[in-house]
Symmetry: D2
């Protein structure tokens, strides 16, 4: 082992200890949140789980807490299907069909669809836009569309993901509001498949299982503008990466996105299962950060707040961002 | 002149030529816009003016077009009074009184004030929140409040700015909607001075005159987290700088903020007089940008689009961001 | 024939002539309207048809134009299922589940459901409330519910009505917005059956066929507070009749209800097929009306305006109301 | 005294006893309400006052409780200035400037002004429309406009009313929301005088003092389509009377108008001081009412509910309407 590698390992070890102490510090915040109840299968999660994985482009891998646990990614899938559809149809076609403007409304609000002219869904990070995007995935059936998505996920995380059938079925039965949104989108001309096909694809993509390492890897690929440092391949276009990161920053944390941008400053996407996927572009030499070459972060903390974001997870990300100077707004 | 300085000068000259060519290229986009008509005094601007100044932290200064012309900064002043009030009262006190969430609505919409609970104004980059912030500037009279603001501007741009009395009076006479907003804010408990005092301060701050160099300097100070590289002084706290940049990115370009973040990716604030102030945090060594140590950009192009942003100005910023890789979302 | 009867017949004949002349006069107004296009099967109607039947409690029957043509009653069915459900469950149970407040929104708006607390549908004369009411009709299946409704209609009009299967199927295929509303109602707890059952009942009741005589008879029964002068039976409670008439007056003509009340002043309900059912309570002796003992009016004029009301039909009712002094607001 | 008159007196006496017993019965309902607090001067009213006066066109006058007390009429004045302005400018000019559609929103909501196209105020019974109407009263100053209104009130109630200066000043100081509405109306082009003039007229008309007899007399004149049975003069056009009664029925009781129409069924207008003015058109011979020749009712009960209507007053009107069969929807 050469000296330099030793130093790297020493740094990684120290950062890892620090991260573990923050996990311990942040776990108690979960007590003010609750596991999502509207998806029955999510109620059984342990609200005090808190796991994290951080991968940087130099090979550093930091983990702490329940980082290995698998969970359904829920709304984090919105990022993946947006990238997939942009890759197939081109950004401009996609943006003809879904806007990229933030809204101050809740993730499942239907109001903006009715009030605004044109009625185009506001952005692909909230349910109406995400269902529109799912309906655009190429394929003649839900299974064809899903297979394309699964294969794309495989390119990102290096393994074929599973779909949690129980969670899917549990959502499928009770997806009244998503059905309402989908039929409304069909009515106004912003659904590009049958309603039931779009919903099946959307709810199955939400039921894809990952752990924090998988999320961190996707975050790292976004950090590197679409380049997978493990397979050394450009997985998607850098322009798509930038639009996606902008969307995550402005709309990725539901109607808490503004405060998240102000105090944490990372493009991130959360899901109601308690997952968060965050991405940190490389920082300048002026930065005091110990991790200045770009990284991805995966979080799991199933107790969520009223808005739908992991309570302990957001606290942990805040700690990481502020202590390690990782906000994209810091110099 | 030593060799290194020569190289810098050579680089600056080349960048300057390029910038001038882009100004020429972007000017014609102004034909689809119009000078703001609701403020009578702005109607006399030349819609085909387009000026730009870029200052970077190494001392590079690039200018092109009508970069020396003075104009009233209008909504760009929202950034300045937000920083001022945060400096005096602390971020948390300010955010108790105005939220930092983006909204998809127009800059002068009153709807969110009525619909949302609590009725707190959504963010300080649109009129309701900005008027709330102006009412919080310390001082017992409009002149005391304004003097504090003027002195703060002086610390930023190194000279005492003038207020365009004609523009102020012209707005004061016709500010029906802003008066409606101010009285509504008073009603719901989010105005911290008399209505007329808050309005006078707000409309006078909008009538402060600057040129693109002044705006670029403010942008540069924001880029450096509150540090003024000319006076070598920390003008405001770095935490305030980050919150401000986050706000500019998520809400600074009215209801075009999402598209601006996606395709340009700079924290920026526009005004209806056609000014834009943008800030670019230092970039990593991985970046291909020729300007990786942080810069500020001032733009002037008075023909605005329906949303209220300078048409040619936005095109020019897009060119600068994409060609010089200045998006904060690029790696 | 005794003298008195002769006089009645003479009066009836004169009124009939007048009515026919008004039909001729009002027909041309149809040119500014269009047959509903969102239900494909309705597009084939003749936009210049205009028919009317007026029945009063003394036995007068006036008819003119295409009064015998059958058409689907569409939203007029909302009146019938409201009365039916109130008769079975009691007014107070029904009003716990659907409000009786007018709204200024279009018939198929979803906004009020999301904005207002509690989210109870605003009133049973617009789609959300009407679908809620259909879901409350007693019965374990759509056919049981429908059979109950059909039998109730039979009590009103004295014959078993047919359901236009082609119109039903045509609506069923394209009922995206109604499906959106129904799933939304299910989500917020205001649907009392399966979504598909409620929708099938709702769309089949809309496809019930009547002509203007049938509508006039229902109007007459409402005028007499639930008493059917032909069968000499009280069909439903007088309290239900009054609530229903109030609802028709405040909400029966979609977002044109206010103007209709002001200038015509009859409780009425329209449907997008161009039908209108109106009811006129008995008038005082002070009134100059020739028809002071209560009457019902059925109208058919398939060219509708933007709001969804028959253009020529509304003109004809205005003529009838103003010339014969039938507004409930006149003394 | 002839026999017939004796019978009338006997009837009046009996009705009077009954009415007094209902007042006693309804008084306790006031305990769930509160005197309006947003107008400081109204807080001193006795919440358990309940007074009523009923005048019919045959000369019957029934009174009970605190029927003689004077109070400011507040929103009831909206009826009077609407009639006045229609008389001067014609109904069609007025309705070009203010719609007559009910809305489900609160009396002081600003939302509909922003959402709807055209932005015309929804109806003259809620604040935005009423302020528009006040701005249309002929006259070059607030005192000229007010004088015209006062003279019109004199024609209605037979005496020059006083304006409660203390209540006016108390409202004037705190009228932030009404100022917001007025400036908003000015902005969108629906205010026809200076903002301050319109507000002064509006708030002074709200401060006009009457007692229940005055209100009952106005109600009686409306019942008789504009004819004053005391002076034997037609005070305003019968068409204006009908439009006004329709507006009262659909919008007169704020966002409780629908329930009021359903269960009470009288055109009525309430004010936050606890007054209600109701009007009952003459009833048919079929009616079982003891008062079938048209009447007006004035109520005073200062404890109001959340919507702004007198709690005990509404209960009393419900009793009167249901027991004496006075709903315009009953046959």
């Amino acid at each position: 082992m050469d000296v330099n590698l030793l130093a790297v390992n020493e740094k990684e070890k120290n950062l890892s200890y620090t991260l573990q102490s923050w996990v311990t510090e942040c776990k108690p915040f979960a007590k003010d949140g609750r596991c999502a109840t509207y998806i029955p299968a999510l109620m059984d999660s342990n609200p005090f789980d808190l796991g994290v994985c951080l991968l940087d482009s130099t090979g550093i891998k930091l983990t702490a807490g329940e980082w290995e646990k698998y969970f359904t990614i829920q709304s984090i899938s919105k990022v993946i299907n947006f990238i997939l559809v942009c890759s197939h149809l081109g950004i401009s076609t996609v943006l003809d069909r879904v806007d990229v403007e933030p809204t101050g409304d809740a993730f499942n609000s239907i109001i903006h669809l009715e009030l605004h002219k044109p009625k185009k869904p506001f952005n692909p990070m909230i349910n109406p836009g995400a269902i529109t995007v799912s309906s655009m995935i190429p394929g003649n059936s839900s299974s064809e569309k899903l297979e394309l998505l699964i294969q794309f996920v495989e390119k990102l995380i290096g393994k074929r993901p599973t779909i949690n059938q129980e969670v899917f079925e549990s959502e499928w039965e009770t997806a009244y509001r998503n059905r309402a949104l989908a039929y409304y989108l069909k009515e106004i001309g912003y659904l590009y498949s049958d309603v039931e096909i779009a919903l099946e694809v959307y709810l199955k993509q939400c039921a894809i299982e990952m752990n924090t390492v998988d999320l961190a890897l996707i975050g790292l690929i976004l950090s590197l503008d679409g380049f997978n440092p493990i397979t050394q391949k450009q997985i998607f276009d850098k322009k798509i990466a930038r639009v996606t990161k902008a969307l995550m920053l402005t709309c990725g944390m539901y109607n808490g996105s503004g405060k998240f941008a102000a105090f944490i400053g990372m493009p991130a996407k959360s899901g109601v299962s308690g997952g968060i996927m965050a991405t940190v572009p490389p920082k300048s030499l002026m930065s005091k950060t110990p991790l200045n070459q770009g990284c991805g972060i995966g979080i799991y903390g199933p107790a969520i707040d009223d808005i739908g974001n992991s309570l302990a997870g957001v606290m942990l990300l805040k700690k990481i961002s502020q202590e390690w100077e990782l906000s994209i707004f810091s110099c």
